[in-house]
């Protein structure tokens, strides 16, 4: 009985960490997608490059803060992909390249959504 209680407590601790992280992740995803869709992409369309660069830097700062915690939970490959894409997006916006900048931001949106989507307990993810 003691072993069963310890095993249950260990598994419950893992599940609690996962639920807390999922909630944190969903909040980050909402904020990040909002920043990209409503701020950075609009700035690029309006060719307001200074503001676009400032907002992309803000996105990078938010990402780094999230990344420091997510590092314990999500795969390194997924984290690295987003790191590279944010780095590229910053450079494209800096050189005022609208098509590549927009494309890279779209890729970031998809990657950030996938962090939550891939961890959600739905049939598609199980199989």
């Amino acid at each position: 009985m003691k072993q069963l209680l310890i095993a249950t407590a260990c598994l419950a601790a893992c599940l609690i960490i996962w639920v807390v992280f999922l909630n944190y992740n969903m909040n980050f995803e909402k904020d990040a997608l909002n920043t990209i869709n409503n701020e950075i992409l609009n700035n690029i369309e309006e060719e307001n490059w200074g503001e676009a660069f400032k907002n992309t830097k803000k996105l990078e700062k938010d990402w780094l803060e999230f990344r420091s915690k997510a590092l314990f939970i999500i795969n390194n490959d997924d984290i690295n992909e987003i790191d590279y894409s944010i780095g590229k997006a910053i450079m494209f916006i800096k050189v005022e390249d609208a098509s590549n900048g927009g494309g890279e931001l779209d890729f970031i949106k998809k990657q950030i959504s996938l962090i939550t989507d891939n961890d959600f307990p739905i049939i598609e993810n199980i199989f």
């Binding site: 009985m1 072993q3 069963l4 310890i6 095993a7 249950t8 260990c10 598994l11 893992c14 960490i17 996962w18 314990f72 939970i73 999500i74 795969n75 390194n76 490959d77």
Partner: protein, 225 residues
């Protein structure tokens, strides 16, 4: 480099705790089911060493889930005998009172050559030396040698649960059991283990410590306390 060492230490501790929590039986008499669990834990631990493909927490969660399932199944098995039979299987009697159980040999896919080989390992060069050969649920072969007085010990009550098949085999009536409990002033729910041994002696082990032994010679009907 140092990351791999740190990950290894964490996974080592997780695997160590898991194996210890699974209990001693995992290492001493391992069943096929437990064998698979141990292999899966080892495999999951090695997958998490390399951080590029999966996070450490994923590996630890998978190991802890296996630990939980194993401990839960072991717990339920002690409470429900049929569930235990389903998970761990039940022993097969290959030689029953000197007779070879051909159907059971076929069912277990054991040839006569294999059986005689195993008997030789158990110090029985001839099948005629053997009274009972039982293939245990963990795959080991138990042998009871021929002896004028020997018969197979039968467990009548195990973990407080009555085994009606063995009760019939031991030719003991259920009402006689109740009479015996009354005679010994024992509540039948307190009986942890009751065995009829090879010398037709009945032994009772009673809760809470299961250490107090009562014996009765069923051939003579006497009771010793």
């Amino acid at each position: 480099m140092i990351l791999i060492s740190i990950r290894t230490v964490i996974l080592y501790i997780t695997v160590l705790v898991s194996v210890r929590l699974m209990g001693k039986s995992e290492l001493s008499k391992i069943s096929p089911f437990q064998f698979v669990i141990i292999f899966m834990i080892a495999e999951l631990a090695t997958l998490s060493f390399d951080g590029s493909t999966s996070s450490l927490l994923y590996g630890v969660t998978a190991i802890l889930t296996l630990l939980f399932l194993q401990v839960l199944i072991a717990f339920i098995s002690t409470k429900i005998p049929n569930f235990n039979k389903l998970v761990n299987g039940s022993p097969s009697i290959l030689i029953d009172n000197g007779n070879i159980n051909v159907d059971e040999l076929k069912k277990q896919r054991i040839t006569l050559t294999n059986l005689t080989e195993q008997l030789r390992i158990k110090d029985c060069p001839s099948i005629t030396d053997v009274s009972y050969a039982i293939l245990e649920s963990n795959g080991a072969l138990s042998v009871i040698k021929n002896d004028a007085n020997s018969s197979m010990p039968l467990i009548i009550i195990s973990d407080g649960k009555l085994n009606k098949n063995n009760l019939t085999l031991a030719k003991v009536k259920e009402r006689n059991l109740k009479t015996l409990f009354n005679k010994l002033s024992i509540d039948e729910n307190d009986v942890f283990l009751r065995i009829v041994d090879g010398q037709k002696q009945i032994h009772l082990y009673v809760y809470p410590k299961a250490g107090k032994i009562y014996s009765e010679d069923i051939t003579k009907g006497g009771v010793t306390k």
